[in-house]
Amino acid sequence: MRDWLQKLLPRAGSVKGGLLKALLAVGVVGCVISGSLLYSKMRINATIDRLRAGADVEVDPASAAPAVLDARAAYLLRRNRIDEAQPMLDEAGERADAAVNVRMLYNMANARLRAAIKAIEQGNYDKAIPLVTLAKAEYRSALRLDPEHWDAKYNLDVAMRLVRDLPQAVGEDEEKPLETPEKLWTDLPGAPKGLP
């Protein structure tokens, strides 16, 4: 046991320098990686802060981070600039995660619904109906991604009462399916019994 330890110890001493160098190298590499990640995140946060403070920061949808797309869309949609926000949503649909997409769809649908309500107040129903239909589709998309999104449920309910979903096919009654013709026959009074 002692011999073995003595054989081991000088080797441990020579290994120690290598281990320390490896620790230093790992630490430096970790510093560089986490530092650059932190720096890029802090830059994104700075942009988000400026947008939230109300500054009109131009954002290139093709290259911006999903969080920036989210913030830019929220900024535009709060000011009812729906057409400018659409490219942000299109881009986020490709790249962003579900939470960001849900929020952007919800904000977009809200903006459309606000525009529709304004149009209804002005009596412009032709303009309002397609806006409500689009908003409903976007609320639905948001709820598909997050079925527990209560704000989207509430606002979808509002939109549904403005322009109600209706069965598309004639005869597709949601409460009671149509009874079959055979059943209808037998229940009819005065069915022919076969005698003249």
Binding site: I33, D70, Y106
Partner: protein
């Protein structure tokens, strides 16, 4: 009697084999009440098929809208064999978008599953009660006031940087530990040995033991201490004749040349002529202490 028994056995065997062959179907249903628009319902359908029976996978329901308010959002199909039977587990997830004005019963249509031999299995329909989430008449008009008050927009959140901060801290700490360890291992800057300060040490010793050294043995001891300090400072033995070359190498002590020379004279007397009393007359302990402290100060100024 015999034929009766045979008949019973025959009937029983036919019955059991028919039971083994008949597909068994069972459905785990979710609760049948308390749903709002956008809620999901999960039904688990378990089909147990006998040997030689196979489910036609083309007859499985596919995700997508069923009608204007109901969608199948997910279909998960799993298959495993138990003996010569096969158990199919079909998880159907529905999502309702029906917006009721009052609580009402809705029905999810049944599912028809086909077997390879063209026989059909029917999963029963399922009905549930869905409720509105808003009051019916919020205000007089449906298009103004609180009836169309929307839930507010959601602000975009800032990114969380906690992970990166922690990773940066951890990697910086490990780099620091590695650096300190290497510096210690290779005796770099904070861990390189400070140069020895022999005169400072000798001066400290003489000052602290001045009373004890004021005797014959003590005087020799004090002289020896100073000699050792000279030896260490020069890196070799310094005798009386070496004093000029020592001072040439260490010009910081040049100022104290006369004191050093007197020290070596006293030392020669004490050690070689064995006349300690004379030496003490030449250079008493108090002067040794004074000289050593001056040597120490010069040494500290130099390095």
């Amino acid at each position: 009697m015999r034929w009766l028994l045979a008949a019973i056995v025959l009937v029983l065997s036919v019955a059991t084999s028919a039971a083994a062959r008949a597909p068994q179907i069972s459905v785990d249903e979710p609760r049948a009440f308390g749903y709002f628009l956008g809620d999901v319902l999960s039904r688990r359908i378990t089909v147990r098929l006998g040997a030689g029976q196979e489910l036609d996978s083309a007859s499985l329901p596919r995700p997508g809208p069923l009608n204007y308010w109901l969608e199948i959002s997910r279909v998960d199909h799993a298959e495993k064999s138990e003996g010569d039977a096969t158990v199919h587990t079909l998880d159907l997830t529905y999502q309702t978008f029906y917006t009721p004005l009052d609580p009402r019963r809705l029905t999810i249509p049944g599912v028809k599953l086909k077997l390879q031999d063209d026989s059909e299995l029917t999963v029963p329909e399922f009905s549930f009660i869905t409720s509105p989430i808003r009051q019916l008449f919020a205000s007089a008009s449906q298009s103004t006031g609180s009836a169309v008050d929307l839930q507010a927009d959601l602000p975009a959140p800032r990114l969380m940087t906690g992970t990166e901060r922690t990773a940066l801290l951890v990697s910086a700490l490990s780099a620091l530990i590695g650096l300190i360890g290497l510096a210690w291992h290779y005796a770099w800057w904070p861990f390189n040995k400070r140069p020895a300060r022999p005169f400072t040490e000798a001066s400290r010793y003489l000052r602290l033991n001045a009373a004890k050294l004021d005797g014959v043995g003590g005087y020799r001891d004090a002289l020896l201490r100073l000699h050792r300090a000279f030896d260490v400072a020069a890196g070799r033995r310094v005798l009386a004749d070496d004093v000029p070359s020592f001072l040439g190498q260490h010009p910081e002590f040049e100022r104290l040349r006369s004191g050093i020379e007197r020290l070596f004279v006293a030392s020669r007397r004490a050690f070689f002529a064995n006349d300690v009393e004379e030496a003490r007359g030449e250079m008493p302990v108090s002067e040794l202490v004074a000289l050593s402290s001056e040597l120490g100060a010069a040494e500290r100024r130099a390095s």
